[in-house]
């Protein structure tokens, strides 16, 4: 009796699953296909990743952009992680209930703010400050972009962190309290060790978002194609590169290079997820 609808439901849900897997693989294939001329001409794909960018001499390497993307994304995580952890502890561990609810609402609202708004705020408020404080360059640099990006990705992390803190069974907290744990100790010895998976997931999703975001870096990082020497240098990310080249050109090999950028982004994101999964499963073995 129940079997038939159950089977039908299984088939029904299999369809979107297959479609989404096919799209994921299809996009990678599409980028590979369109980037092929460049890969053949420039030799190995790996060379392309390691070469610098000099279209005049026929070099279409995207190494500077990879460095730009990685440094901006990782620096934004460095800024956003402590901020998000503190904020989520305030929301679900130490803060007053009403204040926590209010703060959570604000954070949820933040997730809905369009990226371009953050970009504007960055251009008019953050960049001039950075320029004044450090007295170097235009203020459009890795630091400005990562600071603004940190604000953009924090809500994702905060919501994941609070969610995982809230899911730690109440009885664990009660056990720790009954043993004389202060609020801080309860968090450090019980809540955090139980919730680390959620923390990790939030960190990875936020990292993916930082890596994939285009507008903030485009508006605030200065977009110079160079290997940055400090956080006050201008840099171009893979995503900005795609946007900038796409807007200017359609036929050249330069245009084809953006598919290599797309592939690199794709691979970086995949590596991030695989790395996290590895960590996840290794620790599961210990339990």
């Amino acid at each position: 009796m129940i079997n038939i609808p159950e089977k039908a439901a299984e088939k029904l849900f299999l369809l979107p699953t297959v479609i989404s897997i096919a799209i994921t693989i299809g996009i990678f294939g599409f980028m590979l296909l369109l980037g092929l001329p460049l890969i053949i001409r420039g030799g190995h794909f790996l060379n392309l990743l390691a070469q610098s960018w000099a279209p005049g001499s026929g070099l279409y390497g995207i190494y500077p952009m990879i460095v730009g993307s990685l440094s901006i994304a990782s620096l934004s995580l460095v800024f956003a992680f402590p901020l998000s952890l503190g904020c989520s502890v305030l929301i679900s561990v130490v803060g007053h209930e009403v204040f926590g609810r209010f703060l959570r609402g604000v954070v949820q609202l933040m997730t809905g703010i369009p990226t371009v708004i953050y970009g504007f705020v960055g251009v008019f408020l953050l960049v001039p400050r950075i320029r004044e404080i450090f007295q170097r360059g235009s203020g459009m640099c890795i630091l400005s972009a990562s600071l603004m990006l940190a604000v953009l990705i924090s809500p994702t992390m905060i919501l994941f962190f609070t969610d995982s803190f809230d899911h730690v069974p109440k009885s664990y907290g009660q056990a720790a309290e009954a043993l004389g744990a202060s609020k801080g100790q309860k968090f450090l010895y019980v809540t955090l060790p139980c919730a680390w998976r959620g923390v990790l997931t939030g960190l990875i999703l936020a990292g993916g978002r930082a890596l994939g975001d285009t507008l903030i870096a485009l508006m605030l990082a200065g977009n110079a194609i160079q290997i940055p020497g400090s956080v006050l240098d201008s840099a171009r990310t893979l995503t900005s590169h795609i946007a900038l080249v796409f807007a200017a050109d359609y036929e050249s090999l330069e245009f084809k290079s953006i598919f290599a950028c797309g592939m690199s982004l794709y691979l970086l994101a995949t590596l991030l997820v695989l790395g996290a999964r590895g960590l996840w499963h290794r620790n599961e073995g210990e339990k």
Binding site: Q174, A178, P193
Partner: protein, 243 residues
Amino acid sequence: MNKPVKIRTTNLCFSYYNHPVLQDVTLQFFENSLTAIVGPSGVGKSTFLMTLNRLWEEIPGARMKGRIEIKFNGSFHDIYARSYSLPQLRRAVGMVFQVPNPLPMSIFKNIALPLKLAGIRDRSLISYKVEQALKRAYLWEEVKDRLTDSALKLSGGQQQRLCIARALILEPEVLLVDEPTSSLDGKAASVIEELLLSLREHCTILAVSHYWDQVKRIADVVVELSNSHHQSNIYHHQKPQPV
């Protein structure tokens, strides 16, 4: 009873969202004795235990009035006094819950946690105390070869003894036990009963129980709470001493 008083409550009232649970409870508990607290469900037995280590304070809507004093170092202290340290109270008043609540970490780490929370870092002292606590809780022989295994892998009865060991490691003067055997089978339950009887030498035990036969076996004093017309009635039963 000729033993000295350890705990006294005076006009204790307790309510959840203005719904009274305990009304005007004035009681005394004696040193090195096991007092069973009995009564129908919902009469406030578990709540009463929680007033003695202030564990109810995180529960929303809970309110308490009255006075609770416990004798530490020869004199009575109001445990709700502002100057009284909460972690210190919780270390002196251990608690074992109805459902065993080991934390998701190894057996060793579970038992050692209270020491860690109290700021003890000396590793050899910790190992020694963990072994002592496990021996007192009759668990050492069963787990000595797998201290690094997860505590969640133990059976229900073993988990409950682990929780007792964890509560004992700080050598509390008072032990609150909330229906410690209700989630266990008969054999595991009788081990716990025997254990509680052996612990009486060192601490004052207050045990909530539903089972009259259990109460008859282990209790020195029985306090029965009942709730009629929003009034907590208390009946004292003195267990006749065996001849």
